[in-house]
């Protein structure tokens, strides 16, 4: 889901940087109000987890690969705004040091994975786990369902961004200038692979960690979030 350089036209890249600017500003402002200094290591662990879990590429045999992002888990533990910052840090370093995701696409990639994903996941989790006891099974299920749906929505956005490119940018002869596949190909391709495989991977990773924390550190699931 890391869009590389050259797949989005300059206008699309600029648009998503512009969209992310106020989001990043709001995230810093909100996290500044709520983050306690003892929670700073958790922010770093969240960013590190998101970074490393994205290195676990899961193959579709003979097809493409994909991976979990950890963004919903971080949102459950620290709130969506802190998750936005943590995942942004991971994505920026992936782009700059490892060429995973383009530098022109940092705005778009952050929109999909550091904004849409943690926020969708967080609110679905809150809805399903409403009034559930901290150690309840419902909380584990809520985290898994939230993670799966959130990754799928993020993939859907990514597919739409890819799919709009040939409409927005093409030569007079009809050749695409950037990403070549239209909505009719890009959206189903991104949607289906996440629906059938990668969404489940994200769900499994998220639910397993939540289950582990229920046992070993339930207070993390209770009141440690830094933003609502």
């Amino acid at each position: 889901m890391h869009i590389p350089d050259g797949y989005l036209g300059p206008g699309t890249c600029g648009f998503f940087y512009l969209v992310m600017l106020p989001i990043w500003t709001a995230a810093s402002r909100i996290v500044k109000k709520t983050l306690k200094s003892r929670q700073v290591p958790m922010l770093a662990i969240g960013a590190a987890f998101s970074f490393v879990i994205m290195m676990f590429n899961v193959p579709i045999p003979g097809g493409s690969t994909g991976h979990a992002t950890g963004g919903v888990l971080v949102a459950i533990l620290l709130g969506p705004w802190a998750a936005c910052i943590a995942v942004t840090v991971a994505l920026v370093i992936q782009a700059l040091l490892f060429g995973d995701g383009g530098i022109t696409a940092i705005g778009a990639n952050c929109f999909n994975m550091a904004f849409v994903l943690p926020f969708v996941g967080y609110y679905i989790y809150k809805m399903i786990s409403y009034n559930a006891a901290v150690n309840s099974k419902r909380r584990v299920i809520a985290s898994g369902v939230a993670a799966c749906i959130a990754l799928n929505i993020a993939a859907l956005f990514t597919g739409i961004e890819f799919g709009l490119q040939p409409l927005l940018y093409h030569t007079a002869g009809g050749q695409a200038l950037y990403s070549p596949y239209g909505l009719n190909v890009a959206v189903p391709a991104m949607a289906l692979e996440h629906l059938f495989l990668f969404g489940w991977v994200e769900a499994l990773v998220t639910a397993l960690v939540v289950k582990y924390l229920q046992k070993h550190s339930p207070e993390l699931l209770e009141e440690s979030e830094v933003s609502r």
Partner: protein
Amino acid sequence: MKLTAKLWIGIAILIVLSPLGLLLPEHFKAGSAWGEWGADEMRELVGYIPKGLTKLSGLWQAPLPDYAFKGWEEKGLPLLSFAYIISAVIGIVVVVLLALIIGKILSKKGD
């Protein structure tokens, strides 16, 4: 043991296991992620390389492209796995430092 210590150990274990993210796709003959093809794959898929893509894709030369050392593409899986782990370590050190700095700037003092 403090929870954060346990979680750091968890991250360390993930770093050691990270080459699975390289070896499993290789084993199951999976290609690139959708929409993350290189120039050659792109030519194979659509028959041409979009002009704008050629221009923009060379914009940034990452120091450790694809979590490997430059020029190591043909070195074989054991060495590539080693490079993958080193990349994970370097990446996480930088990510953690950056997150700590941002956290320090944003957090309230004293509690």
